[in-house]
Symmetry: C2
Subunit: 508 residues, 2 copies
Amino acid sequence: MKRIAMMACVLGVSLSVTASLAGPQTVSSAREYRRAHEAEIVGELVELLTIPNLASDIENIRRNAAKLIEMMERRGIEARLLEGNGPPAVFGEIKTPGATRTIGFYAHYDGQQVDPSKWASDPFKPVLRDKPLEAGGHAVAFPKTSEKFDPEWRLYARSASDDKAPIIAMLAALDALKASNAKPTANLKFLFDGEEEAGSPHLGDIVTRNAALLGADVWLCADGPVHQSRRQQLYFGVRGIVKIDITLYGANRALHSGHYGNWSPNPAMRLAKLLASMKDDSGRVLIQGFYDGAVPLGDAEKKALKEMPATDPELMREYGLAGTDGAGRSLGELINEPSLNIDGLRSEDVGRQSRTIIPAEATATLDLRLVKGIEPHRQVERLIAHIKKQGYFVVKDGPDLETRLNHPLIARVVSEEGYPAVRTSMSLPIVKKVINAVELAIGQRPVMLPTMGGSGPLWAIDAATKAPQVGVPIVNHDNNQHSSNENLRLQNLWDGIEIFSALMTIVW
Amino acid sequence: MKRIAMMACVLGVSLSVTASLAGPQTVSSAREYRRAHEAEIVGELVELLTIPNLASDIENIRRNAAKLIEMMERRGIEARLLEGNGPPAVFGEIKTPGATRTIGFYAHYDGQQVDPSKWASDPFKPVLRDKPLEAGGHAVAFPKTSEKFDPEWRLYARSASDDKAPIIAMLAALDALKASNAKPTANLKFLFDGEEEAGSPHLGDIVTRNAALLGADVWLCADGPVHQSRRQQLYFGVRGIVKIDITLYGANRALHSGHYGNWSPNPAMRLAKLLASMKDDSGRVLIQGFYDGAVPLGDAEKKALKEMPATDPELMREYGLAGTDGAGRSLGELINEPSLNIDGLRSEDVGRQSRTIIPAEATATLDLRLVKGIEPHRQVERLIAHIKKQGYFVVKDGPDLETRLNHPLIARVVSEEGYPAVRTSMSLPIVKKVINAVELAIGQRPVMLPTMGGSGPLWAIDAATKAPQVGVPIVNHDNNQHSSNENLRLQNLWDGIEIFSALMTIVW
C-alpha cells in the first residue's frame, strides 16, 4: 500500500511538471530552435569569449562573472556570486513548482594560460574557421542571422571548448524550452567555477560554506571532451591532480662551460637523471608504491571499459604517433590509473638563445593524476621519498650557501595542495536516469568512462553535498584544450543544447 | 763566427728599438701613467660598453667596429675593417722601424646574449659597484678625474670582461708607452674579432684571405680570465667547441595530460632518458669513443699542470658546491679533456607558466668542448651514433606526419660547424720569451695552463698563419662571463695595462 501510494505520488508529480513535452519531443524542439538561432547562439558565445579569463586576472574574471549573471538573469534564473578568497563562483537557480528532484549543472568560466605567440590568432578574439588549423582551416566570416553555419566549422578562442561552450549550451537549452513552452521537470541549479584551471583552490571553501544552497540529487559536470570517436560520452569520476615543481641546483651562478665544464655539476643533467629514474621505457612509474591504494573498478565499470570504442589506432594516426606508452594497453584502461607527467622543463635557454654555460638551476613541473583511493599528499610524499632515495636533500625554498656547502645534491620540491579523485557508481538509480536521458537525446548508448582522464573539482562538490556526480561533456576531443589554438566544433555545441534540453525535461 | 754575427745582429737591433725603456721600467711607467689616468681609461671602456654587441645585431656591431677604428687611429695605429660574410674583424698595425719581430694581439669585441630580466642593471649601461653583487655590492658614482678608484670595485656590463677590457688595456698600454717616450720593440698587429661569441663562423674565411697581412711571430690572445687564485695565467691552447640542439617529439600537438597521460609519449621524459644515458653519475661521458684520439700532453704541459695552484676547495666554497664532477680529479686536469655540457633545456613551461599538458617537443642544447686531436665533426658523429643506439631515428628537420608514423623515436639533431682545439708547445723559444715578459711584468711566475677550458677562434689564426699562439688573459675569473651580471674587477684592468706594456717592449 505504502509503496503504491508513493509511486502514485511520484508519478503524479512527474506528470504534472512534464505536462507539455518530454523526451524525443523536447530534443526535436531544441533542434528546431537552434536551427533558427545559430547566429544568435554563436554570437553570445563569442561575446563571452572576448573577455580574457585567466583565473589570476581578477579584473577580467569579475567581468566574466558579471556577464554570466546578466546572461542568467535575462533567462529568469535567480543568479548571484558566491564569494571566496579568489574568483567568485557564479550560482543560479530555477525553482520548478512541484518538482521533487534537484539537478545541478557544473561548468567553469575561467581558462588556461595562453602564450599568444603560439596562437594563429588572438586567443580572445574568436575566429571561425572552415576546418581545423591542422587540416589547413581558413578563417570564415560569421554568417548573418539568416545564413547557415556549417556544423564542421570550428570556433577558435581560449575556452571556446573548455569550458564556456557548455555554459552557452545550457542557457540555449533553456531558451529552447521556453520557445516551445516546455518547463523543466526538476529544480535546476547552476554552478560556474571561476578558477578550475588554477586548480579551484578556493572552491572547496565556497561550496562548504554554501553546502545547503548547493544540495542536489545529482550534479552534472559539463567539463571535458566527448569521446575521441566523436561519440557522446559520460564519465562517472575524474582523476585528482597535484602539480609539483622540482628544481635542482648547480653552482650558485651560471658558469662558463669551458672553464668549468667537466668539473662543476650541471643541474640540467642531474634533472635528466632524476626524471629518468621515475619511469621505465614503457611509461610505467618506478616510484615505490605509486599505484598502491587505488580503489579497484567494479563490474559495471569493467564492462563499460570493455565496451569502449577501440579508437587507439585512429588517435595514433591523428596525433602522428608510431607508438604509445603503456606496453600496448588501451587509452581507456590507462587513464583509470594514476599518472606522472612532465608538463615542462626549463633550464636557461636553447637554440639561438642559448649561451655556453653550465646552468645554475634546472626545473621540471610535473602533474600527478590521482585515482580514487590515492590522496594528493600521499602521492607527493611518495615522489619526495623517491627523490630522497636518489640522494637528494629536499628543501622547500632556494638553498642558502650553508645548505649548498653541506649537500652535494639539493632538490627544491614545491607542490600545490591538489585535489583527490572522485568516482560515482554507474549502478545508482539516479545515475541510470541520466544515462537514459542522454541515450534518448542522442539516439544511441553513450560511451561510458568510469573515470575521465582529466581532473576537475568535483571532489569539492562531492565533499560538501555528497551528491552523485556524472560528467556530461559536450565538446570535441580535438579541441586543443589547455594548449594553443583551442577550438570548438560547432556540431558539438548543437548536440550539447539537445542533451541539456533532454536532461532538463526527463521524468526523474 | 756566423753564430756570433747573428747574435750581434739580433742584439744590435734589440738595443736600437728598446733604447729608452725596457722591462721593469716600462711596467712602472705604465703604472704611473695609469694612476694618473684611471677615470679616462675607465671612461673609454664605459663608452665602448654602451654599444650593444651581440654579433647578430649587425647595426650595433658595426657601430662597435667604427668606434674601435676611431680609437685606434687616435693612437696612430693604421686601422681598417676586414670584411667577411658577417661582422667585420677590426685590424690595426704599428710598424716599428728596425723591428725583426711581429707580435699579434687578438681580442674580440662582440659579446654573449643577454637576458636583461636576469641582470641587476641594464647590460649596456655600465654600473660601477663597490663589491661583487654576490657579496652585496652597491652602485657607486664614477669618480671624477682627480679622485681615486678602488681597485676592488667592479664594472658591470656585458663584455666588461669578455672581451672589451683587454682591448682598452692594449690601447692604454700604448698611451703609457707614448707618455714615457718609449717605443714598441716589435711590429704590432691587432685583430679584434666581431663574432667570437657566435662561434666566429666567418673568421676562418677572413683570416685565410688576409693570411699575409696577419703573419706574425706569435699571436697573443687576450680572451678568457686569469686563474681562480687571481694569479696571472698564460694558456697555450684552447678547447674547440661545437654546439648541438637535440629536439625530441611526442604527439604532433601538445595534449591534455589528463586525457592522454599514461598513453601519449612525453618528449620531455624521453629527453631526460636520452640525456641521462650520455653521462655517468661522476660526469664521465658514456658516448662510445668520446675520449679517443686526444693528443696527449707533453712533459712540460704535465709539469705545468702539477704546479698549478690547488684552488679547487676555495672555488667550491665560492660557488657553493659540496661536490664536483670528475671523481675527485682537479679542475686543471679536467679541462684538458673533452666535455659534454647541457647549455639549456626547454619544453613548454614550468611553474606558474606551466599548463597541464604533454608537451609536443622537448629540446636540449649541448656544447661539446674538444681537445687537440678531436675534430668537431667527429665528435658530433659520435653523439649522433649514440642517439641512434638509443633507438632514435635522427633527422635534420622537424618530422612530417609520415616520418612520425614510421618511427616511434625521432630526434632532430642540428649542429653548427664548430671549430677544433689548438695547442702551442710551451717549449718554443718565442713562447718562452712571452712567459718571461709576463713574469717580469707581474714579478712572479704565471700559472701555466696547457689548454684553457674555454674555446676561442685561435684555430682560424693557427690555420692561416701557422704562428704559435699564447693566451694572455687579464680579467677576473669571477666575472660572470657569458651569464648575467658580467663584470670586471678594476685591478685586473690595471694589471692588464702593465702586462701589455711589457709585452710591447721586451727584447725579442
